[in-house]
């Protein structure tokens, strides 16, 4: 691991995104569409929406995140940047960490912009401890992007790679997604404690962060 390389790659990705705004714009519009479509296909009352909001919010973020994740590595294919990474002496896991952090920032920005919309459309108000929502969103977002970044690199060398990413990502993220949805539901309704789900999410994050950092070299080297 080398923090210098991580910082340099992250800065490069953020600068690229700042200039083009490709990922964030496509994610935002996609998430907006999901919110609107969900909103009038369910048309819930405030009481119901509190119960189902956890699922709606996270499914919307998951779908939107896939849009950004697909661009993570595909961007590096142009001008053979990925080959340059391969032959460079830079440790692959610091590269991975930079990409995952970059995606984390993008998805967090998306969540920050979309959450007010959700509150407006679904008349949401947390009946449980609201500060826990912050913990859930940080842990949940990391769970999504750490796996997503890894599988995006994996699906780089497949036919129809845009489709392959969700096919790999969704089955593995089922426990994390369940934890996010249930924790959010628990906090919004205030009916039961979200502590178990937060612990599970943290365990998921630790396990998959370690595994990804450890195994990423194999994926990067596989052409």
């Amino acid at each position: 691991m080398s923090t210098g390389i991580t910082r340099a790659t992250l800065a490069k990705d953020l600068r690229l995104e700042w200039r083009s705004k490709d990922a964030i714009n496509s994610m935002l519009f996609f998430a907006l569409l999901v919110v609107v479509i969900f909103s009038f296909s369910f048309d819930p009352t405030a009481e119901e929406s509190r119960r189902i909001a956890g699922g709606l919010v996270w499914v919307a973020f998951l779908f939107a995140a896939v849009v950004a994740l697909n661009q993570t590595w595909a961007r590096e294919l142009r001008n053979q940047v990925l080959d340059a990474y391969r032959v460079s002496p830079a440790p692959p896991n610091s590269l991975f960490l930079a990409k995952a952090l970059g995606n984390f920032i993008f998805v967090t920005v998306l969540e920050a912009l979309m959450t007010p919309l959700f509150i407006v459309f679904y008349n949401l108000r947390a009946l449980g401890p609201a500060y826990q929502l912050l913990i859930v969103s940080v842990l949940g977002t990391w769970a999504l992007v750490v796996n997503g970044t890894f599988f995006a690199a994996m699906s780089l060398h497949t036919r129809s790679r845009e489709i392959m990413l969700p096919l790999l990502l969704f089955p593995i993220t089922i426990p994390a997604l369940l934890a996010m949805v249930e924790a959010t539901g628990a906090i919004l309704t205030g009916e039961f404690s979200a502590r178990f789900w937060i612990v599970l999410l943290a365990a998921y994050d630790v396990v998959f962060t370690m595994a990804s950092l450890f195994l990423f070299e194999l994926v990067l080297q596989a052409e």
Binding site: M154, T158, R159, L178, F196, L200, F208, V219, Q221, A222
Partner: protein
């Protein structure tokens, strides 16, 4: 080895038919569920076989990552394919049994959900292998197998907790099993394991052969391109 295969095939066929006879005729009829319970002798052995094969896939994948042995990869592929087939049998026989007994086709019970998630993970594993254009598909597949295995305990705990705070599904009371039923179950389990081993064996053999053919063809085209006709 070549002679052992038909002998093993005949033994498996005999064991399977004996198992069928035992399950349909010899085994006692269950008191409350009646004859529908006999699907148990197919459902449970299939589940055990599928889980064994998924475990074999994990072992072969780890072995491949350590040693880069192409035969380990062929074994991993064969185990995953046959495992998915057996897992599908479990997921199909389950609802058929559940409908008349519990009154529902499906419930998000711990074991059901875990089996479904495992099935999903291994289908995505096979999809990756199918769609991959990389020359190093085995490495990617093995990495996915390892991640899938890491996922299993997390799925287990999440579903376990998910179910404990929601209403319990209607499950016919546990209790002990009749020793005669256990006997039939074990026979069928042995028969299914032999059958799985047989299919895996031939699939593994096929995979090794097809790789050899591919290599020979690649070599021939290389040589052909080098020499002017």
């Amino acid at each position: 080895m070549k002679r052992a295969f038909p002998i093993f095939a005949v033994l498996t066929a005999a064991l399977l038919s004996y198992g069928l006879y035992e399950a349909l005729v010899v085994a006692p009829t269950e008191q409350t569920m009646g004859d529908v319970q006999r699907i148990f002798y197919y459902h449970v052995p299939s589940a055990w076989t599928a889980f064994t094969l998924f475990f074999l896939n994990l072992v072969a994948s780890v072995w491949y990552l350590i040693r880069r042995n192409s035969k380990a990869d062929a074994l991993a592929l064969a185990a995953a394919e046959v495992g998915v087939v057996f897992c599908t049998v479990v997921l199909v026989t389950g609802p058929i049994w559940a409908r008349p007994v519990w009154g529902i086709w499906w419930t998000w019970d711990l074991r059901l959900t875990l089996t479904l998630v495992l099935w999903l993970i291994y289908v995505s594993y096979l999809m990756l292998r199918r769609f991959s254009t990389s020359g190093q598909t085995p490495v990617l597949a093995a990495v996915l197998a390892v991640l899938g295995a890491l996922d299993v305990p997390l799925v287990y705990f999440s579903i376990w907790f998910f179910r404990t705070q929601h209403p319990q599904p209607v499950i016919g009371g546990g209790g002990s099993i009749d020793p005669r039923m256990l006997h039939v179950l074990l026979i069928n389990w042995a028969a299914f394991s032999c059958f799985a081993a047989l299919v895996c064996w031939s699939r593994y053999h096929l995979e090794v052969l097809s790789r050899e053919v591919e290599e020979t063809r690649a070599l021939e085209s290389l040589l052909g391109a080098g020499s002017p006709r």
